[in-house]
């Protein structure tokens, strides 16, 4: 029987990053991936706007920035589109818009305000979060320093941060801006991938949080996702990490509350002294380890962890090159957003609340010659039924027809949250392996008793987006989980 120091379940980017860190320290690592291709959900990502210093230092990698300019176009029914040119988070200019001058100025001011707050959040985003109720000095010190960083914003800004952090994005936008297109554009960033509408409390926090992890409010495309995945895959290969694809882990075997081995769908049993799970917490605890090995309170929290996905991926191939009506083709390298106003988003969200798909969904899409790739929301994850995919597609097509000059559709593929769940073993098919809301963030991610990447089972760790700092392609989850494992090994 084969034996490894560490088995990593799931070859998503966090799993691969963890494998890099561990193999560099001389550990014998095995990565098991369900699909042929490594990278997991990162394969869906159109953009990679930030790679943190922590990852660059830890993996010792160099990165080329994408030189192309970044545009964000907010589509409007009257074909009076708004186009923003984004150089970096501080440098945003309007190329064309129907919004008034004062609106433009207020919009930029609002972005600057959010930038300031996101910078504060970022200072504790990439560190290991403190534990609750542990009483240890380092945890208390960390909590204290988090408070101190918020205080350092100054009295006025700290008050403003504390005012808006629990607020909904619609309120703050309506206080400052009049243009519906701009409101829709900003709301899109606050609610996409969540179970929040523009008027749901906590949508500003989600916006700030995303901005902190991506270092960009509009998630622009600064780096190539594929080359990032290739680089970490190469490091793994160089460090002799064994990678087995097309295999799934059926069960994590536990012996006296210690991990013992994993059982694969091929019937193989592979022993390891430690296991890092890159699947979401719910799947790890309930499916792989089994509820019988945990306390009832813990299972309660696992069950109540919210993982309902809301975004479907739609890829459409057209016959000829895609042209957007009334828009310069030089902007087509950027992102297009169709979320015309707050009311529209709220209506789309309403259906989601009742587990129905939005008849008038919001869209965020990218085009590449004759290919179009869209994130469609809200398409809820369904537990007992399945989606009428044709209906979703026809809804999307109806919207696209308004903006795309006549063109023939050759083929279209749709992946609903249910499909994503099946393909990647992510409970609920959620982008971030669980809602990014205030009770599921930082030291509470995924939930009490499972924070700091460790679990009640000795030798079992989590490194998925279900841990701090959550979703997005950061790699931080992987690094922190690997470090926690190494630290525990040293302490015995």
């Amino acid at each position: 029987m084969k034996k490894f120091d560490v088995i990593i379940i799931g070859g998503g980017h966090n799993g691969l990053v963890a494998a890099c860190v561990l193999s560099k320290k001389g550990k014998k690592v095995l990565v098991i991936e369900k699909n042929e291709k490594l990278g997991g959900l990162a394969n869906y990502a159109e953009t990679l706007s930030y790679i943190s210093k922590e990852v660059i230092d830890e993996l010792n990698i160099k990165f080329e920035k994408n030189v192309s300019e970044n545009f964000v176009s907010a589509l409007s029914e009257d074909l009076n589109h708004t186009v923003l040119k984004i150089n970096d988070s501080k440098n945003i200019e309007f190329l064309q818009t129907s919004a008034s001058n004062s609106d433009q100025k207020n919009f930029i001011n609002l972005i600057n305000k959010y930038n300031l707050f996101a910078r504060t959040l970022r200072s504790f985003m990439f560190k290991r979060p403190p534990r609750v109720k542990s009483g240890s000095k380092s945890d208390i010190w960390q909590l204290f320093s988090m408070g101190f960083k918020v205080r350092r914003l100054g009295k006025k800004n700290m008050r403003e941060l504390l005012r808006v952090i629990g607020l909904n994005i619609a309120d703050d936008l309506e206080d400052n801006i009049e243009s519906n297109t701009l409101k829709g554009l900003m709301s899109n960033e606050a609610v996409i991938g969540t179970n929040l509408g523009a008027r749901s409390p906590g949508s500003i926090l989600n916006l700030l949080y995303n901005q902190a992890t991506n270092n960009s409010l509009f998630r622009i495309n600064k780096f190539n996702t594929n080359s990032f995945l290739n680089i970490i895959e190469n490091i793994c290969k160089k460090n002799n990490v064994e990678i087995q694809t097309n295999k799934t882990v059926e069960k994590i075997n536990i012996l006296n509350q210690n991990v013992n081995s994993v059982l694969l769908n091929t019937g193989e049993v592979i022993e390891a002294s430690a296991i890092i799970s890159n699947t979401d917490p719910k799947t790890t605890y309930l499916e792989l380890v089994g509820a019988a090995n945990f306390d009832t309170d813990f299972i309660r929290r696992t069950k109540n962890y919210r993982t309902k996905g809301t975004v479907a991926k739609v890829n459409i191939e057209f016959e000829s090159e895609i042209k957007i009506k009334n828009l310069d083709s030089s902007y087509s390298s950027g992102k297009f957003v169709y979320a015309p106003d707050i009311k529209y988003i709220e209506h789309a969200f309403n259906d989601n609340k009742y587990n129905k798909l939005s008849l008038n969904p919001c869209l965020e899409f990218y085009i590449n010659k004759n290919q179009l790739s869209a994130n469609v929301y809200f398409i809820p994850y369904l537990t007992n039924s399945s989606h009428d995919k044709e209906k979703i597609l026809s809804n999307v097509k109806l919207i696209l027809e308004k903006f795309i000059e006549e063109n023939q559709i050759i083929s279209s593929i749709i992946e609903t949250p249910n499909d994503i769940e099946n393909k990647y073993n992510i409970c609920g098919g959620h982008w971030s392996h669980g809602d990014m809301e205030i009770d599921q963030l930082l030291m509470m991610r995924p939930f009490y008793g499972s924070s700091q990447y460790s679990t009640p089972i000795n030798g079992l760790y989590l490194c998925s987006a279900g841990t701090h700092p959550g979703g997005g392609i950061t790699g931080i989850n992987g690094i922190n989980a690997a470090k926690q494992l190494l630290k525990d090994k040293v302490n015995g």
């Binding site: 309930l286 089994g290 019988a292 306390d295 009832t296 299972i299 069950k303 008793g449």
Partner: protein, 395 residues
């Protein structure tokens, strides 16, 4: 007249209500899980005396009953409770407690094994939520069957004799903590040799339709044996003598306590013997493993108190008048002729034979008499007669 003052649902009546209502001279009702149960029929001391000398009949229908059915029934109960129940046999009853993840006791109860795919748990508090969440990952169905079973406790030294006179076959050979199906005066009933009195006694479970016949049968020989229906006050007396503790009276159920330091571990309640740390994983095992190695800071003990004034609600002190604990239940025991109580004491006074002091406020004709009474720390089980364990039982 319609009740126009309140929107509350009136209390439910048990299947025995027709009889308990007639017997309840005081019309003094106690609210138990939404049901009306007599607190005192006519005289608590008399009802107590019948339970200790002949037999008393208690309506315990409101007790919560949960059916556990499925392939993993035993596995599920084993994960739930601190004892090893994997060896439970059909017709066996086990006393069980269950804890939360911090090792604090949620409730206690009994589990009845019908067969390896069907168990039933009886307990005082509502636990469906906890059981359902514990059942995740097990092939079992947890169902609340509380309302479909009528129940009587029939407790006292003559209880077996009366059942024998009623031609309940072979009842004397039913061992303690076992149950079986019997025919009682034409009614099909399940009888278990269990109870809350610490004496010889049975609990009788039947269909609600059979309830009145079962009740009447028990009183059939009353010309000679003076069986009395007993209320909750009398039950409180016998359970203290027997050393049985009650959730939300002697300890706060961990599911209901609001203040974290009010919860209690099995070790603090003197129930360490129920915790088996060598069995398969159960909720709380990790913490209980650590707690077992640590010295206790407080413990629930029995107290033998000087004088005859019950120490209800008293504060406990050491000899230097430093506060060390509190009394949770106390009474003058007519059978034992002593003043007994349960109380929490600190780590220096939990040994059997330690001396502590209780400050008793005894009301005497509109004035409090303040008594400083010496107490001896003793075992909680004050009353434990031979006849309780005897097989065959006295007939």
């Amino acid at each position: 007249m319609d009740n126009t003052l309140s929107f509350t649902k009136p209390l439910l009546e048990t299947p025995f209500h027709k009889r308990t209502f007639e017997a309840c001279y005081n019309n003094d009702w106690y609210r138990w899980a939404g049901y009306k149960i007599a607190r005192e029929y006519s005289n608590t001391e008399l009802e107590y005396t019948s339970m200790r000398n002949t037999a008393g009949v208690l309506d315990i229908t409101p007790m919560h009953k949960y059916d556990i059915k499925g392939k993993d029934a035993i596995k599920f109960v084993d994960k739930l409770v601190t004892r090893d129940v994997t060896q439970i046999k059909p017709n066996q009853v086990m006393y069980i407690i269950w804890c939360n993840e911090d090792g604090n006791v949620i409730d206690d109860g009994t589990v009845f094994c019908f067969d390896k795919n069907h168990l039933r748990i009886f307990c005082a508090e509502r636990n469906l939520n906890w059981f359902s969440d514990t059942a995740i990952g097990f092939d079992v169905e947890v169902k609340d069957v509380s309302d479909s079973i009528a129940a009587l406790a029939f407790q006292g030294p003559l209880s077996c004799k009366i059942l024998h006179l009623l031609n309940v076959e072979n009842i004397e050979n039913l061992k303690p903590f076992f149950f079986d199906n019997f025919d009682l005066n034409g009614s099909k009933v399940t009888i278990s040799r269990t109870g809350f009195s610490g004496d010889l006694g049975y609990e009788i479970w039947c269909n609600p339709e059979e309830a009145i016949n079962v009740w009447d049968s028990l009183f059939k020989f009353n010309r000679d044996y003076k069986i009395l229906p007993a209320g909750m006050n009398a039950l409180e007396m016998v359970r203290i003598e027997a050393g049985f503790i009650q959730p939300n009276a002697d300890f706060m159920s961990a599911e209901q306590a609001l203040r974290p330091n009010r919860m209690r571990t099995p070790f603090e309640l003197g129930m360490g013997w129920l915790v088996d740390l060598n069995k398969n994983y159960f909720t709380g095992k990790r913490i209980l493993n650590d707690l077992k190695k640590k010295p206790l800071t407080k413990k629930l003990v029995g107290l033998d108190i000087q004088g005859d004034k019950p120490a209800i609600g008293s504060v406990l002190y050491d000899k230097n008048r430093k506060e060390i604990g509190i009394v949770t239940a106390g009474m003058w025991s007519p059978s034992l002729k002593s003043n007994i109580a349960f109380g929490y004491v600190d780590k220096d006074h939990m040994k059997i034979g330690s001396k502590v002091f209780a400050e008793i406020y005894h009301p005497e004709e509109l004035e409090y008499k303040k008594i400083w009474a010496e107490c001896l720390v003793v075992k909680k089980q004050f009353f434990n007669p031979q006849r309780r364990h005897k097989v065959p039982a006295d007939i």
